[in-house]
Subunit: 457 residues, 2 copies
């Protein structure tokens, strides 16, 4: 049986012999009786195995090393006064896979850097067991939220010939033999797999819009890529993103969904990962559970960018970057404004010139219907906008930005063929997992991170 | 409100005024009364709008074109003798987005080829509305099955420096400027993003194994890539794959999970997409629902490859490819064997030389613990194996195949640090959607397909 099942229903098995598999996390003995911390990873909590001198192979068992894989038979007993509710009195042990003395994961504190260098072993530690279990539950909660609310899961293409943000930070995808390109002295795309240059998607939004105009409500959840040369604790070259897109939906309704989804996912994790969250609260971020519970119960403030700048300018603070109307806000401003309102803040109606071409142009001619969600302690967690639904306005904006409308005729045609008010947003999944777990380096919330110079496994 | 909600609970709204948004699918009138087939895509079934001469703008409404986006107010009425249970008597219409006469999606039969060329509009048709709703539900069912059974969702890396199958059909990922490579006459990987060659994953299995050795049960569900120059109806360069991996799990238990998952997903779709499945049964594959129901209720046969060859050799059939012991089986053999057993067949214990290096070497020295699931009408739907857990055997096999063990030390180390019996399998998600919907071309079950020469949107 799985240890998960035993932990959930141990009372059912008291005095019975059970069979479990797993790995030794720790093994210590006092000469007459020994204890093994034993886990198969199916639940955060393991099981305590007790073995005594009565066993013929007591000596052999007492020498079992950390990391070894065992098949165990034993009797379940209620624990008296221990840290755990029950323990398993071992009747037989089969060593399935040994583990050498120099096994890197020992029952002691390892630095995050050391574990990052041994990324394939780190899920065997308590910390990463908790983090990646939370990640898995959060992913499922995202699907549950959208599926229950009538959204269609849409798989945006990963390899693409279009570039959503109009920016150039795309990885190129090719089957050309680069050595041959170098030798021949020319790049012949007619020999490339797609017959033209192609790259990895930076966002599935534009494609998601095409499906929103058929199903009304869709969401993506897939990998996205930025070939950005940033070595920070919050950037990855490969990350997972959730991008919902809704027809007949304005900016206010967009914010309703952003808020509803975030609260649902957080509550789901609090409900389904109690042991993990208690561990993270104790060892990673003190007050984590309180922080998350508070967010679920708060009402998110909704305020215009212009008003935010007014508040910042009136604040009695010496800013590193002076807040200005019509300009972006800095990290220090984000921090101030969430503290000012003591909770999450939707900042909406941003200056047009610092936002993307597809955003809804407001009647004032200066702002667009964009929104960022700022959350205490983490800053921007999601960004969205109402999309410009007017064909002419969209084409004009593209021309102003020196974009070529012809290359995006399919996107523009959505505004010809039954256009409507529509909105959407994007959330970086790893940022969410950082917020949920308190882990401060984004490299520690994705199994195998890709950053400049790093592509192991 | 959404039409989904109205369809689910129309009785609640009889005689009440409701407000709905959506698109005109058809509009016809007899001079005094008109009918609009109206849909917002939130359910497969739309709503019938009825408008009469009593309305001041009857003439205007009667000219509303197919594809236009409308906001409607109207009274819900029980239908008398119509095809639908209820209809909406229009009290007011607001044209939100017009649609031109030459809109490509008209209420008539379009060929699949035409719709493939207009891939961004095809979800607006009944066929693709059904297909992509089934796809979304099937994806959710996959997550539900694994999450309910204690599996951890594991995101395998997409960009990778390792090549699972040892084959060479990988897309390369680079930030090198190819024009500059051509001009300079050399490839300098120290200037590439990762400082070395990198490509798109062909399988997340090896990485999933590292997490199975921590959590016991994990699954991937993500995009995978093959730069294979195949222009067939069953190959894509970019497709989604599900790859579960289980510790303390042998080949028999592996098959239990393969069978359990498949039945769960099929039953889920039958339960949650009744309208869609009825449509597909009527217009795409006659007998589809019966076929799927039969599979859910069947017990899958489990038989050795050797025995399969015996059956094929005894068959009174003139084969195109003669079945031989120790060799692969062809399409015609797959077809025969599922007909022979009149149901799904697990073919297990395959000749070692035609299977991958990581598969469990059987004591006979000739076969490995591999398994393929053959399904009537579709052929191979999943493939899996027990993995070789013995370090020395695995290294020797790699050397036999001229693979470099040093380049995969992390994978091999799993066999040093508490190795155990473990197994896994892979299922191409698009193949499953084809099977579920009866659609015969794989390009028609993924929103934007990538094949040699095709990378639109």
């Amino acid at each position: 049986m799985e240890i998960r099942q035993l932990n959930e229903n141990y009372k059912k098995y008291i005095d019975q012999e059970i069979e479990i598999n797993g790995w030794v996390k720790n093994n210590r003995n006092s000469g007459n009786v020994g204890f093994i911390d034993f886990s198969d990873g199916t639940s955060f909590k393991g099981v305590q195995l007790v073995y005594t001198k009565d066993l013929d192979d007591f000596e052999k068992i007492s020498k079992l090393r950390v990391g070894s894989a065992l098949n165990i038979k034993g009797i379940v007993n209620e624990s008296v006064g221990g840290k755990q509710d029950f323990e398993v009195n071992v009747s037989s042990v089969n060593l399935e896979g040994d583990c050498p003395e120099d096994y890197p994961i020992q029952p002691k504190r390892h630095t995050r850097e050391f574990l990052r260098e041994n990324a394939y072993l780190r899920p065997r530690t308590n910390l990463f067991n908790a983090v990646f279990r939370v990640r898995s539950l959060a992913a499922h909660a995202v699907h549950e939220y959208f599926q229950t609310n009538g959204f269609i899961y849409f798989n945006a293409p990963i390899i693409t010939a279009s570039d959503c943000e109009g920016a150039g930070e795309m990885f190129q995808v090719t089957t050309l033999d680069l050595e041959r390109v170098a030798k021949s002295g020319k790049v012949d795309y007619s020999r490339d797999f797609f017959g033209k240059p192609a790259g990895l998607t930076v966002s599935g939004q534009l494609e998601a819009e095409t499906y929103a105009m058929a199903f009304s409500k869709v969401y993506t959840f897939g990998p996205t890529f930025r070939a950005e040369n940033s070595n920070t604790t919050s950037h990855l070259a490969e990350f997972w993103m959730i991008e919902p897109e809704m027809a007949f939906c304005d900016l206010e309704q967009d914010m309703d969904i952003m808020e509803g989804m975030l609260k649902y996912v957080i509550q789901y994790v609090l409900d389904h990962a109690k042991d993990e969250m208690n561990f993270l609260d104790s060892f990673v971020e003190k007050g984590l559970i309180e922080k998350l519970t508070k967010l679920v119960n708060s009402e998110f403030v909704r305020i215009d960018h212009e008003e935010v700048i007014n508040i910042l300018q009136k604040a009695d603070v010496k800013w590193q970057f002076e807040p200005k109307q019509g300009e972006d806000i800095a990290k220090e401003h984000e921090k101030y404004i969430t503290e000012y309102f003591n909770g999450p803040v939707f900042i909406k109606n941003w200056p047009k010139d610092i936002k993307a071409f597809y955003m809804k142009q407001n009647p004032d001619g200066k702002t667009v219907g964009a929104v960022d969600l700022e959350v205490p302690g983490v800053g921007e967690l999601m960004g969205g906008s109402q999309r410009e639904e007017n064909y002419d306005k969209l084409v004009n904006r593209m021309k102003e930005l020196n974009m070529d409308p012809d290359s995006m005729d399919w996107y523009l045609n959505l505004r010809k063929y039954g256009t409507c008010t529509h909105s959407g947003f994007g959330m970086g999944f790893e940022r969410l997992v950082m917020y949920l777990t308190g882990v401060e380096n984004i490299r520690d919330v994705i199994p195998y991170y890709r950053t400049p110079g790093n592509c192991d496994y």
